[in-house]
Amino acid sequence: MSAAAALPPFWSLVEAHGDELLVHARRMTDDDAAEDVLQDALLRALRAYPRLRHGEHLRAWLYRVTTTTALDLHRKRRHEVPTEEPPAPAVEAEYDDGAFESMIAPLAPTARDALRLRFVEDLDYDRMAAVLGTSPEAARQRVSTAVRTLRERVTA
C-alpha cells in the first residue's frame, strides 16, 4: 500500500475539525475575516494534501495551516498601510501591532511567530503546541528564549 493511500478523504477532516478551526481563525483575526481565512487555509491544505507523507497529526497540521494563513493576512494588512500616512483604524486591527512588530523584528521568524501566538493571540502553551506542532514544553522554551534575547538586546 502506498503512503498516500493512508490519507483519509479530505472532507472527513473538514467535518471533524472545521468547527474548531473556525473558532481558531476567529481568535487569530476577527469575526468578519475568520471565514475567509479558514476557506483560504483549507484550500492551501487541499493543495498540499497529496504531498503529505503520512496521515498522522492531521488536526495539528490543519491548525498550523490556519495559523500561517492568519499570520499572512496580518502581514498583508500591515503592508497595505502606507507608512507616510496615519494608520487607518478600519484596516489595522490592533493599534499597538506596529510597536510590537518593530520590537520583535530582529528575531528569527520562528521566534516571532511564537511571540505573536503567545502575546498577540494570547494562546496558552498547550494550544500553541497544537498550532506549532511541538510539545507544550518546546513552545514554552521558544517563548522564553525569544523573551530572553529581547531582554538582552534592550539591556546591552
Binding site: P9, W11, L22, L38, Q39, L43, L46
Partner: protein
C-alpha cells in the same frame, strides 16, 4: 462552538472544484431504493453505494483508488442528482451518465462492465454466459459474476440486468429486492 454553515461548505467545495483541486466530489440523495452515496470524478461517476454500505469505508476506498482530495457538494453534482432521481422515480427513461471505471479491479472486470454499460439497454436483460461471450471470454462466466458483484457503479452500469441462465432473479450486490425494483421500473422480463 458555532458550526460551519452550509453556505461556507458549499463555497469551499465549489472553490476547490473550480481550481481543479478535487480528485472526486460526493453527494447523498434519497431515492426509492433508499439513500445513495454518489461519487464523481472529472470523467464521470466513479462510485455509487447503497445505504447498507458504510459511507466512511466507501469514501476511504475511493480515496485509495483515485486520490484523497475528496469534497462534498450537492451543488456541484446537481445535474447528476437530478438525472438519477428522475430515472429512479420513473420520470425519465434515460440514464445518460458518463462513468469512470477506475475503481473496477483489473482489465477483464473493467471490460465486462464497459460492455454491459454500452450494450445492455433499459428493458433488456442478459445472462452471465452471454455477457462473458460479449466481453470476449465465453468461458469466464464466474469472472463475469465477480465483476458484477464488485461493480463500483451499480444502477448506471446495469448489473441488475444480468440474470442467471434460468432467467430467475439471481444475486445482486444491492440485494434482490433492489434488483427486482429496478427491473420492474424498466419493464424488463425475468422468471419469478
Amino acid at each position: 462552538m458555532s458550526p460551519l454553515s452550509d453556505t461556507f461548505l458549499d463555497r469551499l467545495a465549489s472553490a476547490a472544484v473550480e481550481e481543479g483541486l478535487a480528485d472526486a466530489v460526493y453527494t447523498t440523495l434519497s431515492t426509492p431504493l433508499g439513500a445513495l452515496l454518489v461519487v464523481q470524478g472529472e470523467r464521470g461517476v466513479l462510485r455509487i453505494a447503497f445505504e447498507d454500505e458504510p459511507e466512511d469505508a466507501t469514501l476511504a476506498g475511493v480515496a485509495a483508488g483515485v486520490g484523497p482530495r475528496i469534497v462534498r457538494s450537492d451543488r456541484e453534482l446537481a445535474a447528476t442528482r437530478d438525472t438519477l432521481s428522475a430515472y429512479l422515480e420513473g420520470d425519465d427513461d434515460t440514464l445518460g451518465l458518463p462513468v469512470d471505471l477506475s475503481l473496477a479491479h483489473g482489465p477483464f472486470r473493467r471490460a465486462v462492465l464497459d460492455t454491459l454499460h454500452r450494450e445492455v439497454q433499459r428493458g433488456e436483460v442478459i445472462t452471465y454466459g452471454e455477457l462473458a461471450k460479449e466481453a470476449g471470454s465465453p468461458r469466464a462466466v464466474r469472472a463475469v459474476g465477480s465483476a458484477c458483484a464488485t461493480n463500483p457503479v451499480p444502477i448506471v452500469v446495469p448489473c441488475h440486468r444480468v440474470l442467471p441462465a434460468s432467467h430467475k432473479l439471481g444475486n445482486y450486490g444491492g440485494g434482490p429486492a433492489r434488483k427486482r425494483a429496478l427491473l420492474t421500473l424498466e419493464g424488463a422480463p425475468w422468471r419469478d
